[in-house]
Subunit: 361 residues, 2 copies
């Protein structure tokens, strides 16, 4: 004979998992159905008196709904998934915070997965979240430039969506997705124009790996603004590195290896965490910022204002990015036209930028 968990619990003196709804129902002297309706408000209502009695029993027994069971019965969980490169990176952690807040608002719990920007890991992550039957997936990392990678991710997302999953991406992952789009290109162009306005003509740009789309978009923005001024980056002054502090340092080292005459007067690091590395390396090398070289970043992570010198950058509403993505994904009526929300960026000039260094002075 099969033994119920209750019996086991009674025998062993240890129940495996919580008070069940039917215990509550029995305690309140009502049916399972009524208990369920009273505690979780279905379409149907329950008589005021009974409802109160059920609620009383529920917290007398310390009832906590079994989320997996609810999920199964409703075929809908109370979770959202977040896919990002690395929670420990301030850019992503700010986004994660936004996602978390918006999810909380909606009564959902966020499940976060670090992909380190690897397409494979990303695909596995999507599958896991799909398996979890999360209500929505927020894809926070940059899209890839490699078509094969894009296809793989798209396929995984398509499967998920085919099963009723909702998706929102942060930054552009193709026209098929609801998306929150910070103006990467425009922001980079604006930043460049701001530096041009300060008088700079000799730029270096430190951007992210070519395999990612976001850094490429930002780079395109820089090029666009430079072109407007009839300029283009000199050979060897566009460095592709990882968007990490170490990446920034590495790029600086390469830049300073060149003869001083070829040093740029302004370096655009297209990610703040990268820029922080740049600042650190320049300081250690004794290069004055902004006297000898202006430095600007991108993202306006919380620390940007506090490093020394305070970092000029392009402000992006990181938390809002995350929060909006959740909202978008949840609202998405599954209609034909995906919602695509462009968020403006804003140049913030602080102490790390100034007038260009003059060789002849």
């Amino acid at each position: 004979m099969l033994r119920t968990s209750m019996q086991v619990a009674e025998e062993s003196g240890e129940r495996s998992m919580g008070v069940t709804l039917s215990e509550v129902a029995r305690h309140a002297g009502v049916s399972l159905a009524t208990a369920s309706r009273a505690l979780n408000g279905s379409a149907r209502t329950v008589g005021g008196e009974l409802a109160a009695k059920v609620r009383a029993s529920a917290d007398a027994l310390g009832y906590l709904p079994n989320a997996p069971a609810q999920a199964l019965a409703r075929s809908a969980t109370a979770n959202v998934g977040v896919l990002l490169h690395d929670v420990a990176d301030p850019y992503f952690s700010a986004i994660a915070r936004g996602v978390s807040d918006a999810a909380g608002q909606a009564g959902l719990l966020p499940l976060v997965i670090n992909t380190d920007g690897d397409p494979q890991t990303q695909v596995r992550g999507i599958r896991m979240l799909h398996g979890q039957r999360v209500r929505a997936i927020v894809l926070a990392g940059s899209a890839h430039t490699d078509p094969a990678a894009v296809r793989a991710v798209d396929a995984a997302l398509a499967d998920y969506r085919a099963d009723g999953g909702r998706i929102a991406t942060i930054t552009d992952h193709g026209p098929g997705y609801d998306a929150v789009l910070p103006d990467n290109r425009g922001g980079a162009a604006d930043l460049t124009r701001a530096l041009l306005a300060l008088g700079h003509r000799e730029f270096a740009v430190i951007t992210g790996p070519e395999r990612l789309r976001v850094p490429m978009e930002r780079l395109a923005g820089v090029r666009e603004a430079l072109a407007e001024a009839g300029l283009e980056p000199a050979e060897g002054t566009v460095q592709h590195v990882e968007f990490t502090r170490e990446g920034g340092r590495e790029a600086v080292r390469r830049l300073l290896d060149r003869p001083q005459a070829q040093w740029p007067t302004a370096v655009l690091a297209l990610s703040d965490v990268c820029a922080v590395g740049v600042l650190g390396e320049l300081r250690e090398r004794g290069v004055d910022v902004p006297g000898r070289m202006s430095v600007a970043g991108f993202d306006d992570i919380p620390f940007a204002a506090d490093v020394a010198p305070a970092l000029s950058t392009v402000r992006m509403p990181l938390e809002r990015l995350g929060a909006s993505a959740v909202t978008l994904a949840l609202e998405s009526d599954g209609g034909e036209r995906p919602d695509r929300l462009t968020l403006p960026t804003e140049v913030v000039l602080r102490g790390s930028t100034g007038a260009p260094f003059r060789q002849d002075r």
Copy 2:
């Protein structure tokens, strides 16, 4: 007549949630039981031939196990919960990364909840995670000093544990929990001794709110080392603020409001993010660091080495803290004696500290 989701799916041309195991079983021409055993390796084995056939069918159909259903059947989910103050804070995001990595190793997915250090929110969070039937909860935020708050949290945790939940805390939440314990007190004492060794005698200490235990422990460490040298902080030089950049700035403002003769030569900010605020404010006020004032932090968050001047601090293995907590919680045999693992800290002296300022010079 009740209609199965299959029928609905066939009629509407849209299935609500994925390929099911029984579809796989049918496709492979085996029973549900066999399919389950083949795909998820139970105690029982399945003939090699059949197993292969099942696996083939599974990925022919693109089968993804329904996690909530598995959770219900097994009465065990594949999730762990992390409760922290704020993912966007580098201290916690590093821990979160560690948790995430260790969870991944164990085939689990992390569910993260921000509590902003509020006991109420913390209790609600624990209840939610309990409801989710997560396998383990990692409590990453500091314990409270208010007994009522502690009781509330303890009660929620006790309920969870009574239902078979596993718990590990980071920092001390009382002797009843498996815990990973960075040596807050010892680290703070060591840091203080290091500054004493540099010749400092006039200290200010900026620590966290009195409602949290961690900042109090650190403060105690400082006091202890000071006492060894026959010193104690002068009146008004111990500032309790939030462990945020703004908190750091605020404390500095209060400190500098005092007559210059009473300015400390060293300020111990007992959290790096706080210290970064201190550095920022001092720079803006034109106070030279470390010339006029040495500044030290605590935690060694990734940025600490890159701010200017590079921050002297107490290194804590943040990611390992998170990872170890997961391991501990999962291993915990539920035996009588909780596992408590003390992790050493290490003083790291960088550019933000130096010899004390001499008034008479």
